[in-house]
C-alpha cells in the first residue's frame, strides 16, 4: 500500500512540474498585445515561417491547429465549444456550412489584398460574391504515374487504368467522390450525377478494375509513389506535385474525359472570437510575397495572380498544375449533393471496397 501511495505522489509531482513548465513556455512564447487568433487548417498546409512573420507584423499571436477532414472540422465547429477564427475548408464544405449557418460574412473592406486574386477564382457558384470565403489553394484530380515502372504505357483516358498489364499497380485515393467520380467520368457522366442508374453503372464498372487495385489509401499515397511501391495513383494534383518533388520520374495527367476542379478557401466561423484578427490574417495570406512563399512550401496551386508572377515560371508555367483556362473547361467543380446523396456515394464506395476483399 505504501508503495502505491508513493507512486501516486510521484505521479502528481511530475504532473505538477510539467503543468508549471507548460504555463511558463506558453507565457514566454505568447507576445500578445494585439490579441490572439485561432487558425484551424489542414496539416502541413501552411509555411510555419509565415505564422511567425504575421505575429511579428501585427502583434496578434496565432494558435495554429490542424484537422484531417472537412467533415471532422465541421463537426467541431458545429457542436460549439470552440472559438476558431479562421478555417480552410473545401468548396463543397463551404456550401454545407453556409446552409447550416456556420459562417461569418467577410468584410471585403478589410481585405484590400483581395484584388491580387485571379478573377477566375472569385464569385464561384459555391459562394457567389465571395460573401463568406476567400480562395486559398486550388487543384485538380488526375493520374500520377511513374513511366520507369511501366513499359511504355501512357495515360490519356481514365479507361487506361483498366489495362490488364497494370495488375496490382494502381493506388486509389480513399475518398468516395473521387473514386466514384472517376467511374462516372470514364463513362462520360457528370461528376455531380445524382442518377442512381448512372451511379450503379459506374460502380459496376469500377468493380471490374479490382485486380488492378493495390490499395485505397489516403495521404500515404505520396510516400508509396515516391518509394516506387506502386506505379500509378489516382490522386489530387498537390499530392502529385509532392511526389515529383522527391521522385522526378513521376508524371501527372488529367484524363481527357474530364475530372474534378477543387478549391480550398479561408472562412471565418460564426463562433469566431476575434473577427478583426481573422480578417487581418486572411488579408496577410493574400499578400503576393506571402502567398508565393506559401505556395512554394505547400506545393499546391495558388489562385493569387500577383503571387504567380513572383514565382518560378517553370512551376507556374507547368500546365499540369496551372492548367490554362481552356483546359479547365472540361473540369467540374463538386456541387453539394446533400447528405443523402453523399450517403449513397459512400455506400457504393463501400460496396466497391468490399468487392475487392480477396
Amino acid at each position: 500500500m505504501k508503495e502505491i501511495v508513493r507512486a501516486a505522489i510521484a505521479i502528481l509531482l511530475v504532473s505538477a512540474i510539467l503543468l508549471y513548465a507548460v504555463n511558463a513556455l506558453e507565457k514566454s512564447s505568447a507576445t500578445t498585445d494585439g490579441g490572439t487568433i485561432s487558425v484551424y487548417n489542414w496539416g502541413e498546409y501552411i509555411d510555419p515561417e509565415l505564422i511567425d512573420q504575421f505575429e511579428a507584423e501585427t502583434n496578434i499571436s496565432v494558435i495554429y491547429e490542424t484537422f484531417d477532414s472537412n467533415e471532422s472540422m465541421m463537426t467541431k465547429i458545429e457542436q460549439g465549444g470552440t472559438t476558431y477564427d479562421v478555417a480552410m475548408p473545401s468548396e463543397y464544405a463551404i456550401e454545407k456550412m453556409k446552409e447550416n449557418d456556420l459562417l461569418h460574412p467577410i468584410d471585403h473592406e478589410l481585405i484590400p489584398n483581395l484584388e491580387n486574386i485571379d478573377p477566375y477564382f472569385l464569385d464561384l457558384p459555391f459562394d457567389p460574391g465571395n460573401e463568406y470565403s476567400i480562395p486559398y489553394f486550388w487543384g485538380t484530380v488526375g493520374i500520377a504515374f511513374n513511366p520507369t515502372l511501366l513499359e511504355g504505357q501512357t495515360f490519356e483516358s481514365w479507361d487506361d487504368l483498366w489495362n490488364p498489364t497494370l495488375e496490382q499497380e494502381v493506388i486509389l485515393v480513399d475518398s468516395a467522390r473521387e473514386v466514384i467520380g472517376m467511374g462516372l467520368n470514364s463513362l462520360g457522366y457528370s461528376l455531380n450525377s445524382t442518377d442512381l442508374g448512372e451511379l450503379r453503372e459506374a460502380t459496376d464498372k469500377l468493380k471490374t478494375m479490382g485486380p488492378n487495385v493495390k490499395a485505397i489509401i489516403g495521404d500515404e499515397i505520396v510516400e508509396m509513389m515516391r518509394r516506387e511501391e506502386a506505379a500509378v495513383a489516382v490522386t489530387w494534383s498537390g499530392q502529385a506535385a509532392d511526389m515529383m518533388w522527391i521522385n522526378e520520374d513521376i508524371d501527372y495527367v488529367v484524363p481527357k474525359e474530364g475530372s474534378n476542379l477543387w478549391f480550398d478557401n479561408m472562412i471565418i466561423p460564426k463562433t469566431a472570437g476575434n473577427v478583426e484578427g481573422a480578417h487581418a490574417f486572411i488579408n496577410f495570406m493574400l499578400d503576393p510575397e506571402v502567398a508565393a512563399q506559401n505556395a512554394d512550401y505547400v506545393g499546391y496551386s495558388t489562385p493569387n495572380e500577383q503571387a504567380v508572377a513572383l514565382m518560378d515560371p517553370e512551376v507556374t508555367g507547368d500546365e499540369r498544375f496551372y492548367p490554362p483556362e481552356e483546359l479547365r473547361e472540361r473540369l467540374e467543380v463538386y456541387e453539394n449533393l446533400g447528405l443523402e446523396m453523399l450517403g449513397t456515394y459512400n455506400e457504393l464506395f463501400l460496396e466497391f471496397k468490399m468487392d475487392m476483399e480477396n
Binding site: 467533415e71 485505397i216 516506387e228 511501391e229 453523399l342 463501400l350 471496397k353 480477396n358
Partner: protein, 274 residues
C-alpha cells in the same frame, strides 16, 4: 445494485462514471440510431444493416477478429508463461508494454516501410532466396500488425493470472508423477483461464472495430465494422447509421460477455478458485 445494503461510499465515483459515461452515451447512440439524415424517426437504419453489404462486412469483420484473437492467444500465452519464469519478470513484462507507448500511427508507418517492396522484410526474404513479395496491403500484413498491437493487451492479463499460481501446486503435481504437459493441462491452464478471458475481452471486440490499420496496412481491402462506423460519423455524417452499426457492436459484445461469463460462475462466483 439495491440488493447490497452495505454499498460502500467508495463505489460512488464508479457508479457515477457508469451513469455519465456509459449509460448516457449509450442512450444517446440508441436514440440516434432511430434518426434519419433529417433527424426524423425511422427504422430504415436497422433495415439497411441487414442489406447484403453490411451483413457481409459483419461476417468478414468477425472472421478477422477471430483469427487475430486466436493468433494473439497462441503467441501471448507462451510469452506470458515463460516470462513468469524469468529472473526479472516484472521488468520483462514492462518491456512488453513499452512499445505500445509509441504512437500507433507512427508504428504503422514504420510497418509500411518494413513491409515495403524495398523494405527490410523483403530484403531478408531475398537473402533467403525468395521474394520480393507483395507483403503490404495483404491479409497477412493486416493480421500481423493487428496481432502486434494486441500482444501486450493479452500478455498482461495472462501473466497476471499465471504469476499468481502457487508454485507449490505445480510441485505437488510433479511429485504426484504428472508430466510437465499434464501439469500444464490440468493445473496451470485452468488456473490461467481467467487471464485469457480478460485478454479475449480486451482483444476480440476492439479487433472488430480496428480502423486506422485497415487503411494503412490493409489498403482498405479489409473493412471492419469500425471502419464503417468511422466513415458514417466522419465522412457521410450519417450519425443515425453509424449509431445503428454501433448498437449491433454493443449487442455482439453483450453476447460475448454472456458466453464468457457463464463459465466463470462456477469457479469464482464465491471468490474461490477450485
Amino acid at each position: 445494485m439495491k440488493d447490497n445494503p452495505s454499498r460502500p461510499f467508495y463505489l460512488v465515483p464508479y457508479y457515477l462514471w457508469i451513469a455519465l459515461f456509459v449509460i448516457a452515451p449509450i442512450t444517446l447512440i440508441f436514440y440516434f440510431s432511430f434518426l434519419d439524415l433529417t433527424g426524423a424517426f425511422t427504422l430504415e437504419n436497422y433495415q439497411n444493416f441487414f442489406s447484403s453489404v453490411y451483413l457481409r462486412m459483419t461476417l468478414s469483420s468477425f472472421w478477422y477478429a477471430f483469427l487475430i484473437t486466436l493468433i494473439t492467444i497462441l503467441i501471448a500465452y507462451p510469452t506470458a508463461y515463460w516470462l513468469t519464469k524469468t529472473k526479472h519478470k516484472q521488468l520483462w513484462l514492462l518491456l512488453i508494454i513499452i512499445p505500445s507507448w509509441i504512437n500507433l500511427l507512427l508504428k504503422a508507418y514504420a510497418f509500411i516501410g518494413i513491409f515495403g517492396l524495398y523494405g527490410p522484410a523483403n530484403k531478408l526474404l531475398q537473402t533467403l532466396g525468395a521474394g520480393p513479395w507483395q507483403i503490404l496491403f495483404t491479409d497477412f500484413s493486416f493480421i500481423f500488425v493487428s496481432v502486434y498491437i494486441f500482444i501486450p493487451f493479452m500478455v498482461l492479463p495472462i501473466f497476471n493470472s499465471l504469476d499468481k499460481i502457487n508454485p507449490a501446486l505445480i510441485d505437488a503435481s510433479r511429485d504426484l508423477g504428472a508430466s510437465s504437459f499434464t501439469t500444464f493441462r490440468r493445473v496451470i491452464f485452468p488456473l490461467a483461464i481467467n487471464g485469457v478471458k480478460s485478454g479475449v475481452q480486451a482483444v476480440f471486440i476492439p479487433a472488430l472495430s480496428l480502423f486506422v490499420i485497415t487503411r494503412l496496412i490493409a489498403g482498405n481491402k479489409v473493412i471492419t465494422l469500425g471502419t464503417a462506423i468511422e466513415q458514417q460519423f466522419l465522412v457521410t455524417q450519417n450519425w443515425g447509421m453509424g449509431s445503428t452499426i454501433a448498437m449491433f457492436l454493443i449487442l455482439f459484445m453483450i453476447i460475448i460477455m454472456m458466453l464468457t461469463g457463464q463459465k466463470e460462475k462456477g469457479g469464482s462466483y464465491n471468490g474461490k478458485t477450485k
